[in-house]
Amino acid sequence: SCGAGGGTGASGGGDPRTLRIAHNSNAAALPVRVAEAKGIFAKHNLKVQLTKVENLGTLPGAVGKSFDVALSVPTTLITAAQQGIPVAQVAGATVDIEQNPTAFLIGSRKAGVSKPKDLEGKTLGVLVETGTTHVATKAWLKHEGVDLSAVKIVQVDGPAQADQLSSGRIDAVETVMPFATNILRNPDAADLGDPYLKLAPELSAILWIAQRDFASKQPEVIKDFRAALDEAQTFIAQNDKEARQVLKDYTGLPDAVIAGTKLPTYTSEVRSEDLQVWLDTMREVDNFKTDMDLKTLVARQN
């Protein structure tokens, strides 16, 4: 293996107004897709190249090299930054509010899980063991007095979760949309609540990141990016049908799922206070020792 920086640092050399954006098939990326499809980015004098990458974990290392802006989650942002990877949040994506939760802890009544305390001695399927949802759930369970070491954790890919729960291979599951819709269709499934909302009444769990350098050197570009997201958000609110068509186009989900999906609440705002909540939670449940200056994690806002 050769030394660091083998990749091509394109953001330095390329046109700063051309953004290479990476995201997964989460509905959180809808505004970006809408902004592209409806010419909103063009209106803000931004050129974009969109790439779908399902494995968000590889992206912090890739921003500044293969991509300029990428979808990520607060826990990833914090750990990556703590390990010396120079990333920063440039925009918000979604925020969970009580009326519109996006994360779920679901128990199987058959397995006797209808409240968090029942999880002791049971198997809990999670999306990513190090992910935002699981960090939040752990904090929640801890507050409920659950002995975390008594819960067996396994990773289960979202699409397989419904089967695993109904076949009894796992007794409870942490999940997000759209998988939750499928799981909750099973009468045995008990919705125990949104783990995010147990941390704060309103919490952002998905956001956009970029290389820290890029974030500090291109405030104009970021401002325009956010403005485009805001405009897309308005468009989505007003044109539900068209927006869902875009969602279908990039996720490939079946029509029934598209129609049944409740879209998340979008925000382009960088919510530093939410990052603080995440950092505190990680320190509480993850032995995350370091304190860090959250200001370095966000792009300058103006």
Partner: protein, 258 residues
């Protein structure tokens, strides 16, 4: 015509189809009742859809190009390095243990590193495919170099040069083994190209598998899986066919003639 029928492996295909029928019956009878596991007939319609959008063709071409490039590179490097290691004792003595240690490293864990170095590119997939396919080819070549003593003596008695002994005796004698290495390497490079696409470069059939799974389309996902399996059959058939054609004598001597 009869020749054609003899070449097509009717029984083999029948057994394969039988396997599919068992699967279909299993799902239909409710014995296997999972949303994630479709029945073959659904997979067929999923396949039709993948084909009609052209998604399959692009993805398959991408994946096969990467896997085959990696495999070919592994074939060349593996056979050359294997011959050197098998024949030149000092080289073997002073490097084999390193290779044995490298060989045991889980390539999957290197996908993120490969992404860092090569970016989200087909190049990264080729490297992963090459690395994975290299070892079986290398090991089989080294092992195949242990030629029957009497044959080597025949070579020296007939005053063949060192190069001629390698070319006319050692390599042909090792051919069946090398072909085994190549066959193993082929499927391994295919599988690891897919892993590289699933966890790294978002392209090709591997990415189709994950994104179709995320899109809650198990029928299309399994269509992808079946296509990969069939690609495995076809590629292997091609390799064996080619080997039988090019190395007719070696394959016949090894009992591999059709």
């Amino acid at each position: 015509m009869a020749e054609l029928w003899r070449r097509i492996n009717v029984v083999g295909v029948a057994v394969f189809v039988l396997g599919l029928v068992v699967w279909e019956v299993g799902v239909r009878s409710g014995l296997l009742d999972f949303a994630y596991l479709p029945q073959p007939s659904d997979v067929v319609s999923g396949l039709a859809e993948l084909v009609s959008t052209g998604e399959l063709q692009t993805a398959l071409t991408h994946t096969l190009t990467a896997a085959l490039t990696g495999w070919l590179l592994a074939g060349v490097t593996g056979v050359v390095a294997g011959s050197v290691l098998g024949l030149v004792r000092p080289v073997w003595r002073y490097s084999m243990a390193s290779l044995e240690a490298l060989r045991a490293l889980p390539i999957v864990a290197f996908v993120p590193v490969a992404v860092l170095i090569f970016g989200f590119s087909a190049q990264m997939e080729v490297v992963v495919a090459w690395y994975a396919a290299l070892w079986p080819i290398l090991l089989n070549t080294i092992n195949g170099m242990g030629t029957e003593q009497r044959m080597l003596e025949s070579g020296s008695v007939l005053r063949l040069s060192k190069a001629a002994v390698l070319w006319k005796i050692r390599l042909p004698a090792a051919t069946p083994m090398i072909v085994v290495g190549l066959r193993l390497g082929l499927s391994i490079s295919l599988v690891l190209t897919l892993v590289a696409e699933m966890t790294g470069n978002p392209a090709g059939l591997g990415f189709v598998l994950v994104s179709k799974a995320q899109a809650l389309r198990p029928d299309e996902m399994f269509a992808g899986v079946v296509v990969i399996g069939v690609a495995g059959i076809v590629l292997n058939g091609l390799v064996m066919g080619l080997a039988r054609l090019v190395f007719r004598g070696q394959m016949a001597a090894a009992g591999e003639a059709q």
